[in-house]
């Protein structure tokens, strides 16, 4: 990456004896959309709040556009932020809310009016300028909150779980809108969420956080398909975990439930007799023998869940239960519980968890 626009360097934050963020590092390029993804209490919001200036790190530095902003107050950072609870000012109209930052900065009335109109057009709500927040739906309020954050032309946009208070349909449409606006403005953006689908669908990169640290930072493709830690593999997507025993390290052969699987370049120095945690995504597994899959396991179907376009099948293999997804085919009925089944997969898709 060229010179990062935002650089979070060795940041640490404790509240009393509890360390919430432990040595967090991240560089974000100009115009990049990075998501912080993790469970509650992993420190993602605390890192965001430190970037905003609402919390001061105990250690470390936050640099924006080459300038150390660690000690600056929030109102000196020129950062826009959208909050989970919208945080629109109830006593101000939509137009006054959007123009608030510009008014505080001392902009002329004409300039404020022009910018407010631009922002309302950007979020496609030009007719709502005179309404009060309580007269708007949640989705509209969050669009207005986004417009308010963008109106003063901030250097950086922070989004703190902006979609979690909205219903599922609005959430999907608004996240696409946020991404499209971010791309059109080219503004560097940090998005905090605990929803992996949200993070994977709109981010350039995702930082998966756990225990106050970034477990893995990578593109959504890398995070999903090449998780580097057990936590990332388990947290992102659904995962089947199997136990395997290394038979021969030289030929990279592993025994899984009595059948041999070759894991090329994945043993990471394991020796013969070592036990490994192996993982497979449900969509990487096929029911029945497939010509293009080099690995197979046999078992018995224990559960079948019809989910509409997809059928999720659980197959008991030894002491493990493997989930796999198959597309619904109207011409073929779903498999029956108790039926003997063979599953096949490509050993390349099998992950070895650390």
């Amino acid at each position: 990456m060229a010179e990062p626009f935002l650089s979070i360097q060795h940041v640490q934050k404790s509240f009393g004896a509890t360390t919430v963020v432990a040595d967090f590092n991240l560089d974000v390029g100009a115009g990049e959309f990075v998501s912080f993804l993790g469970p509650s209490g992993c420190g993602k919001t605390t890192v965001l709040r430190m970037v905003a200036g609402f919390e001061e790190p105990n250690l470390g530095q936050i640099v924006v556009a080459g300038k150390d902003v660690t000690q600056l107050k929030p109102n000196q950072r020129n950062i826009g932020m959208v909050f989970q609870a919208y945080a629109l000012f109830p006593n101000l109209t939509v137009a006054q809310n959007i123009g608030f930052g510009l008014k505080v900065a001392g902009a002329a009335r004409a300039e404020i009016d022009k910018r407010v109109a631009e922002m309302l057009d950007l979020i496609k709500l030009p007719h709502l300028d005179g309404r009060y927040p309580y007269q708007l739906s949640g989705g509209q309020q969050q669009r207005i909150a986004l417009a308010r954050a963008l109106a003063p032309k901030p250097r950086l946009l922070l989004l703190d779980e902006p979609l979690s208070a909205l219903d599922a349909k609005v959430r999907v449409s608004l996240r696409e809108e946020i991404r499209s606006i971010q791309k059109s403005l080219g503004i560097t953006t940090i998005f905090v969420t605990h929803d992996q689908e949200e993070a994977l669908s709109i981010s350039d990169r995702v930082a998966v956080m756990y225990g106050g640290k970034a477990e893995q930072v990578g593109t959504p493709f890398e995070i999903y398909n090449r998780p580097q830690t057990k936590f990332v593999a388990n947290f992102v997507g659904t995962l089947n975990v199997l136990e395997g025993t290394v038979i021969d390290a030289a030929s990279e052969k592993v025994r899984v439930n009595g059948e041999e699987v070759t894991l090329k370049g994945k043993l990471n120095g394991s020796k013969a007799g070592d036990t490994l945690s192996l993982a497979l995504r449900p969509e990487a597994i096929s029911l029945g023998r497939q010509a293009d899959r080099d690995a197979r396991l046999s078992g018995e179907i224990s559960e079948v869940h019809f989910l509409g376009s997809v059928i999720r099948v659980r197959v008991g293999i030894g002491g493990n239960v493997i989930s796999l997804d198959t597309f619904n085919n109207p011409a073929t009925p779903p498999p029956a519980v108790g039926q003997k089944a063979e599953i096949s997969f490509s050993s390349d898709d099998m992950l070895v968890l650390i």
């Binding site: 609402f54 929030p74 950062i79 826009g80 629109l88 000012f89 608030f100 505080v104």
Partner: protein, 263 residues
Amino acid sequence: MKSGKFWAWVVFGLGAAYFFIPLIGTLEFSLRMRRGVYSLDAYRVVLGDDRFQATFSYSVVVAIFTILLGVLIVVPTAYWIRLRMPHLRPTVEFITLLPLVIPAIVIVFGYIRMYGSDSPLPFLASARGTDALLVIGYATLALPYMYRAVDTGLRTIDVATLTEAAQILGAGWTTIITRIILPNVLIAVLSGAFLTFAIVIGEFTIASLLNRPAFGPYLQNVGANRAYEPSALAIIAFAITWGCMSLIQVLSRFAPKSANRPN
């Protein structure tokens, strides 16, 4: 009608009778100044009395300054306690309740000892100084009502998030308090203000012992020396208090509505 509802109405009726019968009696008596007929003579005499106008005007001015002082002290304090020092809330609530348990006469004797003409802060050495002390005393008496009203108002808004939203948009503390917090708790502040007004208009002890020409001592003086006028004054005082309460009710309809509702 269910028996529970019936007894509720009986209790309500008894309470209303306990409250209204003496009031109706006072009203009826205040109208009997002219022998044999009902008239507003007592009201005419009271309202035409120069001392009524002077003392009432004085108390209104004192009430306005008391409200301003109360707002200046209570709004930033209640805001800061909610925002940054919630652990101090029980302590501050206890302090604000003290004027309810410490009699006004104790407070005023404390003032007289502390702020006499030979003290480092000689409030009582001049009339203006004594007026200022009276305002301070009234602000103390009104503290339980003002603090609770403002605190209740702050509870209806997300103080922390609104503050942060304003901060990140570049606002400083003065802008946040005057343009975001105060407008959103204005109705609560007005409630506290009207309660303060009602307290100040009828207060006797502090004004009397500080020897200020306030409405409370005038009420007492008229009550001690006249027959019908005190009843008329009592009704006027009730009307003022009820007017204030009605204004609180009317203004509360214009409170900014909370926007934090699900989609």
